[in-house]
């Protein structure tokens, strides 16, 4: 077992043990914090598929996070107001069922990523960053003016959506759902990196000319990666909305896109658990430093600076050393 695998297992054990302890000690707020960390981790794992393996620095991933959030918000809003989502040509009712909401969130954000990718992956570097940012702003201002669903104020969902056989109102149970989803996506991510697709995508980041010369199309590889990436971040968005029981245009804000990039960089770009470590550190600092000073972002910025300057592989790179070439 490599040091990195060992470290990842320690992180995973912590993510299981700490909330369980908080549950037994009756500290629901700690569980809520952990849930927030796990959901942000999931969103950043999604981004890491595009950014880490594919080298696509997307400053628009809030689009998919927001679409996931609004998928939950719109479906649950119609369910709680008993107004069908669509009455003609056939009736679509709202729903309070998490699995259905997840499916809608994943499909909708995946489709959005496909379209945004088709239009923006023709560019690269700074232009790609700017185009994804521009798309993000379009979605942001669209939802602000979307009066039917709360416009600038967003929407409140009064009761958390349900999952068959579980009581999602119990914090530890909702946390369990989020953690299981994160683990499933991480397992998929780990398989993806080693797969033929991962091999080709990874090469398309390093030497696109070579990839073309062996008969593969880097654009298509990136487009598929970007779509998967967006779908995962969309799933996280649906969970995030359910955690807060509230959705608003801020889910589409470019600051959120930036935060997701920061989470990936702090933890370690292209490292499997990089986004997880990044999210845990971020949420912990936000809570504890935020309690000490309103200006905690200064200290957080300093940490980011140090990591970018001295730790190329992020925190995981500092702790577990450089990546091993796969064999």
């Amino acid at each position: 077992m490599t040091r990195e695998t060992l470290f990842n297992l320690v992180v995973l054990a912590g993510l299981i043990a700490l909330p369980l302890y908080a549950h037994l000690a009756d500290e629901p707020f700690t569980i809520t914090l952990a849930t927030r960390a796990v959901i942000l981790a999931l969103a950043a794992v999604g981004l890491n598929i595009a950014l880490g393996i594919g080298g696509l620095v997307s400053l628009g991933h809030a689009i998919f996070f927001g679409i996931g959030g609004y998928a939950m918000g719109i479906l649950a809003f119609h369910a709680q107001s008993f107004v069908p989502l669509m009455a003609w040509p056939f009736v679509i009712e709202g729903t309070k069922s998490m699995p259905v909401i997840w499916l809608v969130a994943v499909v909708a954000s995946g489709l959005a990523a496909l379209v945004v990718g088709l239009l923006s992956l023709r560019t690269s570097g700074v232009y790609f960053i700017m185009i994804t940012l521009a798309f993000g702003q379009m979605f942001y201002y669209f939802t602000i003016s979307w009066a039917a669903y709360g416009g600038e104020d967003g929407m409140s969902i009064y009761v958390r959506n349900g999952f068959p056989g579980l009581n999602t109102l119990v914090p530890i149970q909702f946390y369990g759902i989020c953690l299981v989803l994160l683990c499933l996506v991480l397992a998929f991510n780990a398989a993806l990196v080693r797969s033929p697709f991962g091999l080709a995508l990874n090469a398309a980041r390093q030497v696109p000319d070579r990839v073309r010369a062996v008969g593969l199309n880097p654009f298509r590889l990136r487009l598929v990666a970007f779509t998967i990436s967006g779908a995962v971040t969309g799933l996280a968005g649906a969970l995030f909305a359910d955690l807060n029981r509230f959705v608003s245009p801020s889910m589409f804000s470019w600051q959120l896109s930036g935060e997701l990039i920061v989470l990936v960089i702090i933890g370690g770009t292209a490292r499997l658990f990089g986004p997880v470590v990044g999210a845990v550190v971020f949420v912990a600092l936000e809570h504890y430093l935020g309690g000490v000073s309103d200006y905690w972002h200064v200290w957080f910025g300093l940490l980011l600076l140090l990591i970018v300057l001295f730790g190329k592989g992020g925190l995981i790179g500092l702790i577990a050393g450089r990546t091993r070439a796969h064999d």
């Binding site: 991962g198 091999l199 080709a200 090469a203 030497v207 070579r210 010369a213 593969l216 070439a325």
Partner: protein, 249 residues
């Protein structure tokens, strides 16, 4: 008449006032190594770019096995059986030697969409990649990170990746670039055996290698083919001596 495997007809490309290739017609016949030589700026790189699909010509056509591939993309040309190597190694430095070869094998097979099973567990890909690495003598460093290879080994890996495509024709852009005498001799031996698998269009500066390997030589000067012939014919050609070889002698 023998059918050419790869052929260019009247290939022309200008960059502003500079005519980089001017009506270049070259054939690559089965089993041969056809070397393209010429001084710096003669248009060799532009020619390769047009053959491989990185640049589209202003005029002229490129044919592979008699099929016009002028309008096809670089990946489509590779799928059709054109394997190129790069003057400056284009290898995934973070990956292992084997992974670089696997990429070639994956490209040859197409459909790179499998996401759940490891590439290394794909026996078909792996056998193809290992066979190519064995052929160029890199079996001992399969698991080494490509960045840790010597320059000479990287040049061998370039050839190995091209081999995984099992191409109809090779187009090699200065495979000897940066090699010392020993490395150059080793690669010359390797390429010598390769022509039996597929003919090689060889752009090369190393004259020892060219004279040792080439069945035919074309001389490119200012974008034009000024002479095509056997090694002896080219050596004896007065125009060539003046334009090119004379400078070195």
């Amino acid at each position: 008449m023998i059918e050419a495997v790869l052929e260019t007809r009247g290939l022309s490309k200008a960059f502003g006032a500079l005519q980089a290739t001017d009506d270049v017609s070259i054939t690559l016949l089965p089993g041969e190594i056809h070397a393209v030589i010429g001084p710096n700026g003669a248009g060799k790189s532009t020619l390769i770019a047009q053959i491989s699909g990185a640049l589209s010509p202003d005029r002229g056509t490129v044919l592979l096995d008699g099929t016009d591939i002028t309008d096809q993309s670089t990946p489509a040309r590779a799928q059709a059986g054109l394997a190129r190597t790069f003057q400056i190694s284009q290898l995934a430095m973070e990956d292992t030697v084997l992974q670089n070869a696997l990429l070639g094998a994956l490209g040859a097979r197409g459909r790179p969409w499998r996401m759940l099973r490891p590439a290394l567990a794909d026996n078909d890909l792996r056998m193809r990649a290992e066979a190519a690495l064995d052929r160029v003598g890199l079996t001992d460093v399969l698991r080494m990170r490509t960045a840790e290879l010597s320059h000479g080994q990287r040049r061998q890996l370039e050839v190995a990746v091209a081999l995984t495509l099992r191409p109809r024709a090779f187009v090699m852009d200065e495979p000897m670039a940066g090699l010392g005498t020993e490395g150059s001799a080793r690669l010359t031996g390797l390429l010598d055996g390769l022509r039996a698998e597929a003919p090689i269009l060889l752009v090369e500066h190393d004259m020892d290698a060219v004279f040792a390997l080439a069945d035919r030589i074309s001389v490119l000067v200012y974008g034009k083919v000024v002479a095509t012939g056997t090694v002896d014919e080219i050596r004896a050609d007065r125009v060539v001596r003046e334009a090119y070889l004379g400078e070195e002698a």
